[in-house]
Each structure stands twice: as structure tokens, then as C-alpha cells.
């Protein structure tokens, strides 16, 4: 699976996938032709909430970015303005373990795009968190 998208230019400091952000997560995003955005990562220990548990807000952050990439059709995620995210947590996630992220568009009307996403522990496919997102695509006709 090839890497399609890493932030470059003005937002190269993005926390999630900015290549110049030395404290960032450096997430690499991929886009399938079926409209699904995918990513796989390990969250470092510096992003914990409680001991040995990744902060739920960091999981929300990763899910938000994957949903934005799906909303933008795997093109320029900078155009996807986040309006809402609704995240549910099902299981704690330990740091430095592989996490699989996926997102897809579930509805689109004009410039508004609704998405859903999930994060699973890769080793046993445990559902860690799921999310719904609402985005506004800049430059699209409402």
C-alpha cells in the first residue's frame, strides 16, 4: 500500500501528519478507490492519558484526520473544515502497539460531508474507538 498523502507546505507542522513536526505523530494516510481512507500507526508513550493508556483525545485526533482525508476524497485534506466529531470509546489502547484506522464517507450534500471511522488494535482487531464526523469542503458548491 503506497503512501498517498503527507502534509507539505503551510501545514507541514501538523500534529498528526506534518513531516516537519518533530513532536508529531507523522501519520501516513492512504486512500482506496472505494472512498475509504486508511492508516496504520503506533502511538508513542508521550501521548498517554493514564499510565499505559493512550489519551482518548489523541485517538479522537487520529480519527478526525483520517475522516478529513476521506471527506476530501483522498485529495487535499486541508480543504476539509471540521465542524463536528462524535467519538465513542470501547477499549483502552496501549502505546507502541499497532493501531489500524479507517474512515469512509456516509453522506454528502453540497459542501457538507458526513463520515464515519473506527480504530482497531491490529493484533486482535479489537474495536478501540469509533467516530462520526461532519466536514465542510472549502471551494465546493453548497
Amino acid at each position: 500500500m503506497s503512501v498517498d498523502y503527507i502534509c507539505v507546505g503551510a501545514n507541514a507542522m501538523s500534529l498528526v501528519n506534518g513531516p516537519e513536526n518533530q513532536k508529531g505523530l507523522k501519520l501516513e494516510l492512504n486512500y482506496n478507490g472505494d472512498g475509504t481512507a486508511l492508516a496504520e500507526t503506533s502511538v508513542p508513550k508521550r501521548f498517554l492519558g493514564w499510565p499505559n493508556v493512550v489519551h482518548g483525545g489523541i485517538l479522537a485526533t487520529l480519527l478526525e484526520e483520517v475522516m478529513a482525508y476521506a471527506a476530501s476524497g483522498g485529495k487535499n485534506a486541508e480543504q476539509a473544515l471540521s465542524l463536528e466529531q462524535d467519538v465513542s470509546f470501547f477499549a483502552p489502547m496501549e502505546p507502541d502497539a499497532r493501531l489500524s484506522l479507517s474512515a469512509k464517507v456516509v453522506a454528502r450534500q453540497g459542501a457538507q460531508v458526513n463520515t464515519q471511522a473506527e480504530a482497531r488494535r491490529k493484533s486482535d482487531l479489537t474495536l478501540v474507538a469509533s467516530a462520526h464526523g461532519v466536514y465542510w469542503l472549502q471551494g465546493e458548491n453548497a
Binding site: 482518548g56 486541508e78 470509546f89
Partner: protein
């Protein structure tokens, strides 16, 4: 008044007081005159897609952490996030003082619902709001 960070939050990316790469959010046990329990200016490394703005997920991080601490302060209990819904009203700027407020809306058995807001501290413009549903997992903690 600032109060000590709970033992299980020492490593927290958001509020861990000695976390070398964290945000070191200090949360007060009582609201200030604006109703805020914390004030923070977010650093450049939590940037999002919009230039000069924080990542929307970091806004969720802040609200999630704040709700957890307010549950601890007011209910003397550890709460774990079940669900959190965040609305972004305007991009949340980096390097500007933000006021963070949280109020517990309901307690029903072990289920707690709380609402939070992120505002520009000086202008009081609302930037984001959120609703969190938490489940109490450990009660009767010492204050």
C-alpha cells in the same frame, strides 16, 4: 486555585505537570470570574490543517481532560470517557489565551454528562463546545 494533578494523570499528555512534551494544562478546582477552570495558549506543535489553528482533535483532548478533572473535583471520582461530541464553531488559534469551562449537567448512577466550552479568553468568543458522557469507575476518592 490550582490543585495537585492526580497520581494517575502524572504521565498525561494534556495535564501531566512534568511531561516534557505535553501541554501541562493546569486546571483549577473552582472557576474564575469568567467561569473558566483553565487557561492555556496552545503551542505550534499541536497545529491542525488550518494554518495557525489547533488540530480539532486537540480541542477534543482539552475538553475530555477538563471533564475528567471536574468529575474528580466535584464528585470525588475517576471518570472514564464513553463518548464525547465536539463542535468546532471557529478555528481555535494557536498561541492565544483560551478559556476552558466545564459544567456537569447530570449524574445518573455511574453515568455523568458534562458540557464544556473553549473561548478566546480576552474576547469571550466561543470557538468550540462539547458534550461528554463519562462512566464513574472509581468512587469516594479523597479530595
Amino acid at each position: 486555585m490550582n490543585r495537585p494533578t492526580p497520581p494517575n494523570s502524572q504521565v498525561c499528555f494534556i495535564c501531566g505537570p512534568t511531561h516534557p512534551d505535553g501541554l501541562r494544562l493546569q486546571i483549577n478546582s473552582t472557576p474564575d470570574s469568567d467561569g473558566d477552570r483553565a487557561v492555556i495558549a496552545l503551542p505550534d506543535f499541536v497545529a491542525g490543517r488550518v494554518v495557525g489553528s489547533a488540530h480539532p482533535g486537540i480541542v477534543t483532548c482539552l475538553l475530555d481532560d477538563m471533564i475528567s478533572h471536574v468529575i474528580l473535583d466535584e464528585l470525588k471520582a475517576n471518570g472514564m470517557t464513553v463518548n464525547i461530541k465536539t463542535s468546532i464553531h471557529q478555528p481555535v488559534p494557536l498561541n492565544r489565551a483560551l478559556g476552558l469551562s466545564v459544567n456537569i449537567e447530570s449524574v445518573n448512577g455511574r453515568k455523568v454528562v458534562a458540557m464544556g466550552e473553549v473561548r478566546l479568553k480576552d474576547e469571550r468568543t466561543i470557538l468550540a463546545s462539547g458534550v461528554g458522557m463519562f462512566i464513574i469507575i472509581k468512587e469516594n476518592l479523597a479530595s
